[in-house]
């Protein structure tokens, strides 16, 4: 079985972080609205569209890839900041423009929130591109060091 099942029992709630629960929820709603607005504005102006091609789909383990620019990626996200269901998280921006090696294709993963195995498409993880654990309105950062999920359309293969 998986270690993630008992995470809540491995520790106690940080009181400082728990006290800001309501504020975080409110901020999430505002952020979602702001994101929708930004997307509409980009659509009117010089929106960059990411080409969907076979080459992107063929990206696989050991390939060297460059992460596209933040603007390119943002312009192709939906109202929830996702591409094909994969969320582009705030901490991922720092990896934009950098080069990485593909560690693994993500075909299935255990979704902690829903507690079930989920089938995915066109996702990879990159060597060294991990979450810093820093989140808005949290005093402490998560130390789990999870790998970010990258949609293949956010990457360019380097020959």
């Amino acid at each position: 079985m998986c270690q993630l099942k008992d995470l809540d029992k491995m520790g106690t709630l940080s009181r400082a972080d728990a006290s800001l629960e309501g504020v975080r929820e409110g901020l999430k709603k505002i952020r979602r609205a702001a994101f929708t607005l930004r997307k509409h504005m980009l659509a009117r102006g010089a929106a960059v569209s990411i080409p969907v091609n076979r080459e992107n789909r063929a990206i696989g383990p050991e390939d060297r890839v460059k992460v596209r620019s933040r603007d390119e990626i943002l312009s192709a996200l939906d109202d929830e900041g996702k591409r094909g269901g994969c969320k582009f998280m705030r901490g991922m921006s720092e990896h934009c423009g950098k080069t990485y090696r593909v560690l693994k294709n993500v075909d299935f993963f255990f979704d902690e929130a829903r507690q079930k195995m989920v089938k995915t498409k066109d996702l990879v993880i990159l060597e060294g591109a991990t979450c810093s654990g820093q989140q808005r309105l949290y005093f402490n950062r998560c130390d789990r060091n999870c790998f970010f999920f990258w949609h293949k359309e956010w990457l360019e293969r380097i020959d």
Binding site: F109, Q135, C142, F147
Partner: protein
């Protein structure tokens, strides 16, 4: 003023070379469910017993996505360089590709 102190200070700093204790030593401190302070010793982790690794990070806080809350670990936990979960389990027909770093309880590690 709200910040609570960890119950135990970590013994191994980040970057330190450590060895994983032997299977016998680790087993002696596990409960019936193969856990130590609720931290599971997975099947894969037995393969690393007796080997040397470098501490990549001391894990003081863990975000639980199921409960959407951040927890402060009771006892120091560690992630070790390059030791990620292979995702194979007999519960699901498919392997999980999430590649989480394995969590190591301090009592399972020793100085080199």
């Amino acid at each position: 003023m709200f910040r609570s102190k960890p119950e135990r200070e970590p013994r191994f700093p980040q970057g330190e070379r450590i060895s994983v204790r032997t299977r016998k030593e680790i087993e002696a401190g596990l409960d019936a469910l193969n856990k130590r302070d609720h931290c599971l010793m997975t099947e894969q982790m037995w393969d690393y017993c007796g080997q040397h690794f470098r501490v990549m990070k001391v894990v003081r806080h863990l975000f639980d996505e199921r409960k959407n809350k951040l927890y402060q670990s009771h006892s120091p936990l560690y992630i070790l360089e390059n030791l990620i979960c292979h995702g194979r389990t007999n519960i699901f027909p498919h392997q999980c590709d999430r590649s989480c770093y394995l969590l190591w309880h301090e009592d399972w590690l020793d100085n080199v």
